[in-house]
Amino acid sequence: MSIAPDHDTRVRPAATREEDYLWTLNFGPQHPATHTTLRLVLKLEGERVVDAMPEMGYLHSGFEKIGEHLTFNQYVTVTDRMNYISPMANNVAWHHAVETLLGIDLTPRCKVIRTIVAELARISDHLLCNGAVGLDTGAFTFFLYGFYQREVIYDIFETLCGARFTNSYTRVGGVSHDFTPLVIEKIRTFLRTFPKTLDDMERLLTRNRIFVDRTKGVGVLTKEQAINGGASGPVARASGVTRDLRKDEPYLAYADYDFQICCAAAGDCYARYLVRMQEMRESLKILNQAIENIPAGEVNVGADQRVARPTKEQVYSTIEGTISHFELSMSNRSFEVPYEESYAAIEAPNGELGFYVVGDGDDTAYRARCRPPSVLHFSLFPQLIRGHTHSDVVAVLGSLNIIAAELDR
């Protein structure tokens, strides 16, 4: 098995004459600590990892090819299965990109609702990611705490749209189901109870000696490496890159809320863990502000724009509604899409999740490129692991939060 050539000579250990003492270990693609399907070929010298060759593609299912055959509204079901830890964020990202291409301005209510579901998705993603880091370093209880709270968020989503986590919630110009009082009540209950669990989780792990020893100083990513390697999201912020699309390019309703970007300087696994823990608290801040200030009014854009399906009342009482309903229901007629292309991204839990959409007249994308954060994070892996022991492999992998379905698409 050949090891990929290395471009970064600074971090590579001095070339060794003792090639005979090196041995190769295959890790994955089906391994409990990869959590998903990815493969590493590790070159070991005793316990020390000399080099690693990551390999992917074990879950490549042609998402981008399907995107050329499904309409903008149908493709949202496929984005659910992309980063399946936080599908709501993918839904929001996809329709954010489509609406950028079409130039649709959402209603204030829809913006707030999408912000809320995206932040809930962020919490559930960070819970699983940090839980998995805990699990891999031996803290099973921590994982169960996290998973229980994920079930609460699943419950909220189930009340909202009927599906536990493959929600397919957004639509072009709106969402599939408006918030009901029951949903708002469930979110309020969650916001009341979750801080306590979060405190408990922090007490379990943040200053746990074993956990700190296993993660501190392990897998250090410097700021230069992070920028040059294209890292984004918590991975980049843990290395001191102060880039958060929620602040830098405010989309949806983020400009209205008071929250902070969570950064760390160390760039190791522990810093990534801390950034994720802190981001959950910031998400709670956003949610608390958002849930009390949901604007009244329509959730979908008006019938005059002819993208969102009008309500029955509009269909029967207004001419615009009738026309819009007809246009959207007929298979050979649909909304008009410019012969143009655009890129739009959101700050997904994992990093910058963007879509490059090419329109060609009808409501099917000519090309639907997804810019997945996981690919770039996984390509950084060899730099992070060189020189550490092979028990650190799982800690580094877990802290990068690589989701194979998003990695391979």
């Binding site: 089906q30 998903t36 299912s61 399946y84 830890i85 079930e151 493959t166």
Partner: protein
């Protein structure tokens, strides 16, 4: 007398299934949820997830299996000891689901034997638990009738050579006798 021994062995087997979670995609998260505290698979005696195929007797294929992954799946299936069973969890593993694309295998039952199919995309944990209960019934009824676990080592080695001779992934149909035979697959 033998029949009763069989029943006893089956009863033991069905209540101590050790699943091998072949979790590739979204269904894997529901598989984790099934094992976690709320749904708790331990109530049915099947909570001992082992990631080593040598220790398992139930393979749960959760999620889509793609071209690059299928040789791995077959290898792991062969590494499991008899008696063994397979649950195909979710639409993708059973039929390819929404992914009717160039890369996704359209149902793992084309290439490995499957005992139980769980519909859903992804199935709820309750559905997976129901599948395990149904599988327990099946094990009780027909567990060791073929007696495959008592086969000689030579016979098993001969079978394994079949796949290894073909290689992990040969896309060249002309040089692959097994593929030439199987290209006439009725559903393709």
């Amino acid at each position: 007398m033998v029949g009763q021994l069989d029943a006893l062995a089956n009863w033991c087997r069905k209540n101590s299934l050790w699943p091998m979670p072949f979790a590739t995609a979204c269904c894997g998260i529901e598989l984790m949820a099934t094992g976690a505290s709320k749904h708790d698979l331990a109530r049915f005696g099947a909570e001992v997830f082992r990631f080593s195929p040598r220790q398992c007797d139930l393979m749960i294929v959760a999620g889509r299996v793609v071209m690059k992954m299928l040789p791995v799946l077959q290898r792991i299936w062969q590494q499991m000891h008899e008696p063994k069973w397979c649950i195909s969890m979710g639409a993708c593993a059973s039929t390819g689901g929404v992914f009717d694309t160039y890369a996704v295998v359209q149902g793992i039952d084309r290439f490995i034997p499957v005992d139980m199919y769980v519909p859903g995309c992804p199935p709820r944990p309750e559905q997976l638990i129901q599948a395990i209960i149904d599988l327990q019934d099946k094990i009780q009824r027909e567990g060791t009738i073929t007696g495959r676990e008592f086969e000689t080592r030579e016979r098993q080695l001969r079978k394994r050579a079949l796949v290894e001779a073909v290689g992990p992934l040969s896309l060249d149909a002309a040089r692959n006798p097994v593929i030439q035979r199987e290209l006439r697959f009725p559903r393709s």
